[in-house]
Subunit: 127 residues, 2 copies
DNA sequence: ATTTTTGTTATACACATACTAGAACAATTC
DNA sequence: GAATTGTTCTAGTATGTGTATAACAAAAAT
């Protein structure tokens, strides 16, 4: 598990762990069926508290990214086949909206935003 | 000023005010040179505390959206002509990245994300 | 010129969240 | 049987959010 934690960042540590795992999935470093390390071992590797990792795992479960089997482990789920639940689309839309508004206010055109989004995605996938 | 405040939302009130003003700019309801109402009057209209609106105004100033003239008023700035400061692009990129990652993990393709972004933008502009 | 309104600053309180810490439990794994 | 697992509990500190009251000096309005 290659996640870099920045303790002085304004984004909470548990969110950094969540994002790191999701980026690993996007890069196919984590595949559906893979089992995440235990909350204790990952917390030890990252140098953070066990409860912080535990909170991240449950956040991932609420997003539908992993499935937690009690007393066993956390398994990467397969991407939702076919349609995506509207609740999930709503959450993404509400998170996306204010950032897109800020981009427009900054003076970006719709085409520039599209290119910007594409470059970020390729950066996440490629590196 | 037509901003709807949802006190029980998980997004802070000052952020709701900031987003509402920026959406007003995108919809051309607020034009460059327009003067925002005083923090006291807007706070009274919205039914929130003066400091909450004051925090929103300073957030807008840090984003470069408005210019606060002490003892006078807050003026809508003109959109940055030509190139956008790289600092501003970095902040937008860092905010955009985790949401795009979540979209990819949810199973959206790059084309679906592009369409999704376009629909949100048209929703913000039009309504 | 006086009054009002302005943005600013300061202090204080309540509430929620974030993070860490230690401990204990039962179930799984070795 | 021993170690590890996720879960749960209590507890503490720190930070962020929102409200509240007050005071100040400068600008605007009368």
């Amino acid at each position: 598990m290659f996640i870099q934690i920045e303790p002085q960042s304004d984004t909470p540590i548990y969110a950094q762990v969540t994002n790191g795992i999701m980026e690993g999935i996007v890069r196919s470093e984590l595949l559906p069926g893979d089992i995440l390390p235990s909350v204790r071992s990952l917390a030890g590797d990252l140098g953070v508290n066990m409860h912080t990792v535990n909170k991240s795992y449950h956040e991932l479960e609420s997003k539908g990214v992993i499935r937690i089997v009690p007393k066993s482990g956390a398994v990467i789920c397969s991407p939702s086949e076919g349609t995506i639940p509207p609740q999930r689309l709503n959450r993404i839309s509400e998170a996306l909206r204010p950032i897109l508004v800020e981009s427009l206010v900054a003076g970006m055109s719709e085409e520039e935003i599209a290119e910007f989004v594409a470059s970020i995605i390729s950066n996440v996938k490629g590196d």
